[in-house]
Chain length 392, copies 2
């Protein structure tokens, strides 16, 4: 086990009707004027926004709305939110939505707390970030884990770059998690969430140096839980138990608990980000579309690990090589089962030109300046091969 | 899954040499004058105390020592610490030791922050606790989980009562966890730690209403990890990997992660506390000594749960009744394997008089005013039967 530090200060309020505790939580954290960040109209139509606002009113907390976050949230939206936050003098940012909304809220919090500083300079670390506003989250999609994570992703639509920022200042102070709020999600979004949760765990799992028994146990248990609950959720999205497990696993999968004691590897995310920045596809779907190609490209460098995964997660007991292969096949088959694409064309963007793949490979590797994957370090050329494998 | 709230703000600094970061951590949390709480001379002889003090000096932090915590820490010791803390004007309490030391530090923090208030009144909730001093911990024993938990236990030697206090104000602000510090522990203490870690998990596991898949997965994975690592540790206490797993599991087992979404049941702890308050036995040993008798007394009320435990933790696949029984037998055999007592006489206090057992049963049930065990509610009469079963 390597050295690690770990701290998840986010207060989790989990269960039915918990959105009604929103006002109390904001008050406890000293919020007096809140910017409510949300996406499309669904939180309004469902009545959730009204319940949240009523809860704030009950505690005498004032608020302004800031709706319109899109999937793959844009820098320009965040900048608009910052402008509004500063103008209105808010002291607390409340996200009501999924990962995109929470990520946008984190960005707005950083910008609002640092007026006059370019948000993209903060995001690209040209400007160091030392303070932010407090962020709370009312979660409506089980997927990104942003509600307790130290990360956020923003897309600069001027350059087409999608970039993550990791900092302890990204941790929300509270996360309200009511699984019932996810009942009305379309199946495709539930599938994207499942793929994202699994990938947050898999990306931390396929790492050299495996002497982390408890971390492995948590990761494997989480994958088994998500796989089974995901099947139940695809049948009935109002299955409270299934939706509860997905929601809780979504948080656990991305707050670092599943990767403690070893390095972090988000190579498949880099490939997915390149795709979704350019084609604006759903994040989880992009991950599922390339994972298989990635796995087939790297697995022979750590057959034992892939075999261990196959045994622990899929119950496959065979010789190492066969088990490793079957584990990959079963994972891909599962993505298909939950309606996720397992190739690039499955994203609805057709089969891509080789020139486009080359550009995507450069995007994913920051112009071939970084190597992805610790199991088998990948240059832009390797990433291109993976994209080609997935390009059908 | 029931409603739950969960927050573990304790910052964990895990790995070799991490005690050298002590000064930086105290400074970050605003500590200027520290009361260092510790037990016997071992932390001095090992050089640990010197390293901790050097680390404080490097950051210009002053300190006073407060040594002499005993196992099953006493109210009188804590009161002495409070007196010293107030006289010296300390603003931070640093525990260097195991669970008893950390529990004593928590009590001293509460008392020092509330001068003039009786510490036992705080402990028995006659006085409400609204503020405390910050506590940090340098952990030297993997067992109690006090380094991240919201609980602490104190014994009032005047009345012979051993009582736990649960409050969010009990969470240390940081926990420094260097597994190497546990290399020199006697085998018996390592065994007591293993029993305690397992019991923190088992007490949260044998609860009615089991719809908590992820919570179960974490609990079962933790038990498997502790069982295997415990065997390795009993062979070689300088096995870094084994001691790392025990240390990390010790924290995870008692910060509530293994019990989220269901009620908590600490009935075996109540029996153990009654024994250790009266006979001053090691906490972990008292738990192991009565667990088997408890399990045989309650198991038929939830055979499916005991069978599930047997399958997941011990790999036993048989008919439900046989599996449930074998799971209990294997657990008891494991306690024996790691040198833990599995009967009252194994605690070195002989076989007890029935009158004594009756008194212990009343102690454990607060004079028959509370029922223990959710699986099968236990009155003082039931607890007496369990003590009788264990009394050989």
């Amino acid at each position: 086990m390597q050295k690690f530090t770990y701290c998840v200060p986010t207060e989790i309020i989990f269960g039915k009707d918990t959105e009604r505790e929103c006002g109390k939580m904001v008050k406890r954290h000293g919020g007096k004027k809140v910017l409510i960040v949300y996406g499309g109209g669904s939180v309004r139509h469902s009545g959730l926004l009204e319940r949240v606002e009523h809860s704030l009113e009950e505690e005498g907390i004032s608020y302004v709305e800031c709706g319109g976050v899109t999937p793959n949230p844009r820098l320009s939206f965040a900048e608009m939110g910052v402008k509004k936050g500063i103008e209105e003098g808010v002291d607390f940012i409340l996200a009501v939505g999924g990962g995109s909304t929470i990520d946008a809220a984190k960005a707005i919090a950083h910008g609002t707390a640092n007026p006059g500083v370019s948000l993209w300079d903060i995001w690209t670390k040209k400007e160091s970030l030392t303070k932010t506003l407090k962020v709370g989250a009312v979660l409506t999609i089980s997927a990104a884990g942003s509600e307790t994570s130290d990360s956020a992703v923003l897309t600069n639509e001027a350059t087409g770059k999608k970039l993550g920022l990791g900092t302890e200042l990204n941790r929300p102070v509270f996360a309200i998690m009511n699984p019932e709020l996810t009942y009305t999600l379309p199946k495709y979004q539930i599938g994207c969430g499942i793929a994202d949760i699994m990938m947050h765990t898999l990306e931390r799992y396929f790492i050299p140096d495996q002497k982390n028994r408890m971390t492995d146990e948590i990761a494997e248990g989480l994958l088994r839980t998500v796989i089974d609950s995901g099947r139940m959720a695809m049948k009935r999205s109002d299955d409270y138990d299934a939706m509860s497990e997905l929601m809780w696993c979504g948080s656990l999968s991305h707050n670092n608990l599943t990767g403690l004691g070893r390095e972090k590897d988000f190579s498949v995310h880099k490939l997915g980000h390149a795709l979704s920045a350019r084609f604006d596809c759903a994040h989880g779907a992009t991950l599922a579309s390339v994972w298989g190609a990635w796995a087939w490209y790297v697995w022979e460098r750590d057959i034992a690990r892939f075999a261990h995964y196959a045994k622990q997660v899929w119950g496959i007991e065979r010789d190492e090589i066969s088990a490793a292969k079957e584990g990959i096949e079963r994972t891909i088959a599962y993505f298909e089962e939950i309606g996720m694409p397992t190739s690039i064309s499955g994203l609805g963007i057709g089969v891509l030109e080789d020139e486009t793949l080359k550009e995507l490979a450069l995007d994913a590797t920051m112009n071939d300046t970084v190597r992805l994957s610790l199991i088998r370090p990948l240059s832009a050329e390797d990433v291109l091969e993976i994209f080609r494998k997935a390009n059908y």
